[in-house]
Structure formats: structure tokens, C-alpha cells
Symmetry: C2
Subunit: 328 residues, 2 copies
């Protein structure tokens, strides 16, 4: 059987089989943003890992090493944030092509250390090896969370609101701009490129969500359509999203218009937003002090399965989980 | 500056700079077999990671996927063992070429799960991505150790004995046999090939060493010459090794003779033994029940710096730390 026949998620299902041999203190294993285990009563340690491969995840002609290092840590921080955790310690593996210089690696680590310092994350080890074809970066990150602060994908309840942080699609639009030059003079370009090259994960917000009453959460790494399906499936509910509620930046509207693209396409199917989508009861949500948080209500939770998009003309579309799949 | 000018260890020194931003609970950061931090009083969590890259660390025409999976976990277990820890939880990242099949990946994980089950290690997450050129495997592993059970590289004291577990050089000799066929009918070949392809880390022994009185320890992943220098440097002492004491298997002696190689070369400079070298006072060592452990005294600790090899004819050689360096 070919990988492309089973796909990334089918493969994860296969991998999950018999992976836990001593479940005593496992709270969450394969399949969520990070794994959680409980070394001591009351405190959970979170562990996550992400691999970035040259010419799959990044193009060295389009990013600086500093930006790449920053992003490699950011994507892992986002996984811990979506669990409600405080990121604590990272180990970094690098597979380095022989033509790389020390300066390249130092610059890569400078980007890593900048964001690590910003969020008080220690880089406490790693492995550095040679790679015959292209740069490979792997980050494994440990976080901590009190049991009561843990956010899962599986807690969404019927009549909850669906809420997202920040704006959506900027990163995917920024990626398009990187490979479709000609807009370098436009004001809108920088926020979009930055969203793609140095995403800022919602670490501080993630740690507050459980206390605010969030019932489930996921980081938006593979597009809202994909992550909303993940929440719906894990929680055994259906999610209804309103197209005209999806938060779009002024910049994505300008850029999409000029490139003849639809900004909703980026918002739903573009990847690497590193925002958080969560569910929360209306009571708890409207108790929150207004205007303090970058929250947008984008839908609600209903009985059933799947995710549906309601457009202004009352047209309803079923949203398939078609984020980026590495093997299709 | 080129990578090869600074070398792997020079690069690690560069990377270590400013890597710890919140040292509150860091016990050991970059530079030992695993990192150690203390989430709660009395218990340390250990975190280690290793990356294996196709055609650098393995050749798919010489290993099965099962063996490769087994080994990818084994090398990480060895790092935890050398710290005295009990391995607990692993996260696995795979970079997979498009021509790989599901069966390949399942077989890889079967090897991983076999050794994980053997040592009660949970695989609790990971990342699976595509790789345009060759297979990449990264494992990050968490372990636990009571404070009193922690083994460092830095505790060796003058007049301690230097002790190794098991036999040395078998893995490197097995690697040579893989690439120099013609001995397939010889009885000696299998233990040597197995030592290379499916090394069995000293996990259970590692957890007992601190209680036995070991003052420092390191796993032998890059050859004894290299690891002994690591212990000497970290502890601020000199190590004296006796050539005729180095434990050699009957098989390595046969194979080396037939291939016209010197078995000591494998034992000192060959990599991937995944045995443990440790130091211990003579009093404590001779208190141990005789014959119960696979221990061999190979030298002692003296004042000074560096590692010296004494041969039977009283010839003394300074052993340079020339294990495998990825960038030389």
C-alpha cells in the first residue's frame, strides 16, 4: 500500500496502535497537539515535537535563517498553547548539509533563542548531525499545565460558541506573495509575510482559556476547515461556521483582491495561522470583559457530525478537512 | 567560517550560549547525554533527542525497517541509561520519502514498539512529514530519576576505577562486515551484526549505577576514546586506560583477524557500542557481589588532563577524542 493511499491521518491511526504500553500516568497520547502525562499529582507535563524539512516546509531563498529558527520554535509553542500549557523546555535536532556555515547555524539559533526568551523557554539539549540533502530541523518541547487548565479537542458541547483568536489566512496569503513577487512596494505585504515567516503563537492566551471556560481547543496549523473538523470529530458534535464572521485582516483583503484570490479560501484552507480555535458556552463567553481579547465568534456547536459553512445567501457548504496532507 | 572548521563540539559550544533563559529548575542542560529538570521536589525529568538520517546513520540496503526502528529508540534509551534514569515516554518525528509504503512505516514502528515495550516506554506522540531526499527519524525521549540516582559526566575523582559494561567495538566491527561481504558463512558474524543493527542499551544497569557508588558515567556512543575524554574533561581529571583490559568479544577477535584489522581500533574509535563507561571508588567496586554484573575494570583516574592508553610493552599513547564527528 502506498503512503498516498492511506494519507497522513490514516498513517497516524496505524502508528497509534499499541503505542502505549504502560498507560498508568498517560493523560493524552498520540493524536492531540501535545502529549500529556502526570509525573506528580496535580501537575501535567506536556511533550510535543515538530519536524521542518527543507523544500517541504521552507525555501531558503524565501526565509532568513533567523526567521526559520523563530518559526521552528513557534510552531511547537502553538501546540503547547492549544493545550493550555506553559512551555518550559526544548530539545533541538538539526540535520545540516555540508555546505552550511557556522554563521547559518548561529543565525538559526538566534531566531530560536529570541522567541524562546520571549516565552521563557529553555533550550536544554539536542542533536546535531549531517544531512546529505537539505536542512532538517526537529524541535521537541515540554510544557506544564495544572490539571484544571488542560484544554483538549474533545470537550465541545452542543450550543457552545466557536471562537477564534486573531485573524485567519494571513500566513497562507503571505506564502502566496512570496512566490508571486511584484507587490514589494505595497504596504499590505509586510504583515502578511511576517504572519508566514515569523508567526506569533497564542501562548499567553492559551494558558487563560480553560479558566475562561473554554470546553475544547485546537491550534490552527492546517487551516480552520481542517481543525474545526478535528474538534467536531473528537467531541462528537457538528460545527456551524458563518462565512461573514471569519476574521480577515485589512491586508489580506487588499492582497487577495489584487491577486484575484478569495480571502476566505486562505482563511479556511490556508495553513500555519497558529491561532487558536476554541469552544465555550455563550454564558461564559459573554461574561468576559468586552474588547480585552482578540476573539471573534465564528460559529456554534450543534448536534450531528461534520463542519458546515453558512454563507450570506444562506448557501450551506460541508467543509471537508482538507488542510495540508503530507502524503497526498 | 565552515562547519568543518569548528566541528561538531565547537558547534555545540556555540549553540549552548544563552540557551538557558530561566535556570530555576534546570539541573543539566546542553552537553550531557540527556537534559534534566525538576518539575517537583525529589524527582527529575530527563529529556533527550537523537536524529537518524538516511545514508549518514543508516543504509536501507543493509538494515531492515524493523531493525532501524529498534535502533532509533535504543540510541535514545542509552542516553537516559547513562544518566541513571528510567525511560518513560517518547515522541517520534519521521521525514518520509514519497516512494515509501505504509508497510515500511509500520515495520519501522514495530521495531520501535518492540524495544519500547521491553523497557516500558510509551510512544506518546510525534510528527510525520514528507521528505524529498531520504528517510529522517527523530526521537525525543523523557525519563525520570530520583535526585540521588542521577549520574553525570562530571563526578570522577582521582583514584577511582574506570569500568565499562559489556564488550567494546562489536558494533563498529559489525558495520565493517556489512560493507565487506564474504563472511556470511562464518559463525562470528551474527553477534557483531546484531550489535550494530539492534544494539541493546544498558537501561536496567544504568538505573543501578548511582546506588552502587558510580561517581560519573557516559554512554559509549562515539567510541571509548571519545567518551573517556568527555568524562576526563567534565570531571577535571585524567583517565589511564590499559589496552590489555579492554573487553573484547571472541567474535571481534576472529573477525578482526580475518579482516586484517586490530580489534582495539574498533574498541577505542568505533562508535555505537551503547555500553556505559563509569567511574567508581575501588572500595565501592570491590564491595559489589562478584560475577553478577557485566563489568570490566579498564583503567583508573589520576590527576591531570586527557586520556592515556598503556600498552603491554609500557608504551603510553595519548588518546585523542576522535570519535565520529559529523562535520569533519
Amino acid at each position: 500500500m502506498k503512503l498516498k493511499e492511506v494519507g497522513e491521518f490514516g498513517l497516524i491511526d496505524l502508528i497509534s496502535e499499541n503505542a502505549i504500553v504502560d498507560p498508568t500516568d498517560i493523560i493524552i497520547g498520540i493524536g492531540d497537539d501535545a502529549a500529556a502525562y502526570a509525573p506528580k499529582q496535580g501537575l501535567l507535563e506536556l511533550l510535543t515535537t515538530d519536524m521542518l524539512v527543507e523544500s517541504v516546509h521552507f525555501d531558503l531563498s524565501k526565509t532568513t535563517f533567523w526567521q526559520l529558527g523563530y518559526k521552528a520554535i513557534a510552531v511547537n509553542l502553538s501546540d503547547i498553547a492549544a493545550m493550555g500549557g506553559k512551555p518550559r523546555h526544548a530539545v533541538i535536532s538539526l540535520g545540516l548539509p555540508s555546505e552550511f556555515t557556522v554563521e547559518h547555524v548561529v543565525e538559526l539559533y538566534q531566531g530560536m533563542k529570541e522567541i524562546a526568551r520571549e516565552f521563557s523557554v529553555n533550550i536544554i539539549g539536542g542533536d546535531t548531525v549531517s544531512s546529505p540533502h537539505g536542512l532538517v530541523i526537529n524541535v521537541a518541547l515540554v510544557g506544564e499545565v495544572e490539571v484544571a487548565g488542560l484544554l483538549r479537542r474533545s470537550g465541545a458541547r452542543v450550543s457552545d460558541l466557536v471562537v477564534v483568536t486573531g485573524t485567519l489566512g494571513d500566513s497562507a496569503c503571505g506564502l502566496d506573495l512570496l512566490f508571486n513577487p511584484g507587490w514589494d512596494e505595497a504596504d499590505f505585504i509586510w504583515p502578511l509575510l511576517n504572519a508566514h515567516l515569523t508567526p506569533r503563537p497564542q501562548v499567553l492566551l492559551g494558558q487563560k482559556l480553560a479558566g475562561m471556560g473554554a470546553t475544547s481547543a485546537d491550534d490552527i496549523s492546517d487551516g480552520l476547515a481542517n481543525e474545526a473538523n478535528e474538534l467536531a470529530r473528537s467531541s462528537g458534535v457538528s460545527l456551524r461556521l458563518y462565512a461573514d464572521k471569519l476574521p480577515l485582516s485589512p491586508e489580506i483583503k487588499q492582497a487577495a483582491a489584487l491577486m484575484d484570490k478569495h480571502p476566505l479560501h486562505y482563511a479556511l484552507y490556508g495553513g500555519e495561522d497558529y491561532q487558536i480555535v476554541f469552544t465555550i458556552s455563550p454564558d461564559r463567553f459573554f461574561d468576559l470583559p468586552a474588547g480585552t481579547w482578540p476573539f471573534t465568534v465564528v460559529g456554534d456547536v450543534t448536534d450531528g457530525t461534520g463542519v458546515f459553512l453558512l454563507e450570506a445567501d444562506n448557501h450551506i457548504t460541508k467543509l471537508e478537512p482538507k488542510g495540508y496532507d503530507h502524503f497526498r
